[in-house]
């Protein structure tokens, strides 16, 4: 069954976006904004700069001023207090610019999704280019996500359809009440 929203479909805007993302292919400056996160994501983000993960070897750097930034890295569910500063940061960035949402909170609001004091994820406030789920996402997940934003990585989350088959044999289950066996 074909999914009408298959990720393979691209329109002209997406093509353009791809070309723009490739501008930053080997040189990217990131401005990080904490929009109300618990800082677990920040703990993982800061690991990117240690000698083990070392994203600077990939040409990715952190910068403090949004005027110098190519990519806005947002953590947190976007609390009410941080909404305007986040918008201001985004507006201060010159084009072309990318937005990456890091963590469950930034993707969807996470465990704070039902709160009246959050906006329910960065996607509600800004146009997001890459979502990186996780709570917190490990540094490798972050690297994968950043490289995806740069067009240097491949997206493996296909959405909509997941087909997994376990290679182990199944055991027939009794339909009612009886003993179950856990696999």
């Amino acid at each position: 069954m074909e999914d009408p929203l298959d990720v393979e479909t691209r329109d002209a805007a997406e093509e353009l976006k791809d070309r723009v993302q490739r501008l930053f292919r080997h040189s990217l400056h990131i401005r990080h904004v904490d929009a109300g996160s618990c800082n677990a994501c920040e703990s993982e983000i800061k690991l990117l700069l240690n000698p083990y993960y070392d994203i600077q070897r990939l040409g990715i750097f952190f910068t403090t001023s949004p005027r110098h930034a190519d990519l806005l890295l947002v953590t947190g569910p976007v609390t009410r207090a941080m909404e305007d500063p986040l918008r201001q940061t985004y507006e201060a960035m010159p084009d072309p610019r990318l937005v990456v949402a890091v963590g469950a909170c930034a993707c969807s609001g996470g465990i704070f999704a039902s709160s009246a004091f959050t906006r329910g994820g960065v996607g509600e406030v800004l146009p997001v280019d890459v979502f990186i789920p996780g709570c917190p996402p490990s540094p490798l997940t972050l690297i994968h996500g950043l490289l995806l934003a740069l067009g240097r990585g491949e997206q493996r989350m296909k959405g909509r359809v997941q087909r997994v088959r376990s290679s182990r044999p199944l055991q027939m289950l009794s339909p009612s009440g009886g003993e179950k066996e856990r696999y």
């Binding site: 069954m1 929203l5 990720v7 000698p51 083990y52 993960y53 070392d54 070897r57 469950a104 993707c107 969807s108 609001g109 996470g110 465990i111 999704a113 994820g121 996607g123 997001v128 280019d129 890459v130 979502f131 990186i132 789920p133 996780g134 709570c135 996402p137 490990s138 490798l140 997940t141 690297i143 994968h144 996500g145 490289l147 995806l148 934003a149 240097r152 990585g153 997206q155 493996r156 989350m157 296909k158 959405g159 909509r160 359809v161 997941q162 087909r163 997994v164 088959r165 376990s166 182990r168 199944l170 289950l173 339909p175 009612s176 009440g177 179950k180 856990r182 696999y183």
Partner: protein, 170 residues
Amino acid sequence: MVFSWVHKGLRTGVLTTRYPAVHEQMPEGFRGKPVLDPDRCLSEQGCTACVQICLPAALELKQEAPYSVRNDAAHLRSASSDCKEVVQSDEGGAGAGATQLTLDYGRCIMCGLCVQACPTGALQMTADYELAARHREDLQIVNLLEVSTEDGGTQDGGARFISPPREGEG
């Protein structure tokens, strides 16, 4: 002081990971993304163990009610957390409702409680860390509980993320 650092650095060698050029295996016990084996899933039989235990409501169960709604049977699809009582769906040919178990990775906090709660082991925790996606919809996985014959049934590259079974299992 500086020279001892240089010496130590030269002695230690290069520690940096070579990801993404080389795949890196996460340590044992790492919780990546949970995946569902539709063959083992009892959601069609009314099991809602994972849905109830999921903290950020990443797992959702949607059912289309059949045309001839029988209130008694339809409403009984709820609540039982250990699935001792499995309610038979009324599939008397009147057009059974399709069960849709949605897993939204955008909300998933990878806590693994759903894996623990699952009575059949349909939900497994993998060590897959390449989770990023360009669109929000790409993160919303709707499990088809029908087996699809389109591709080999295995996500490309996914096999390497499945952790080997622990001792005493399977």
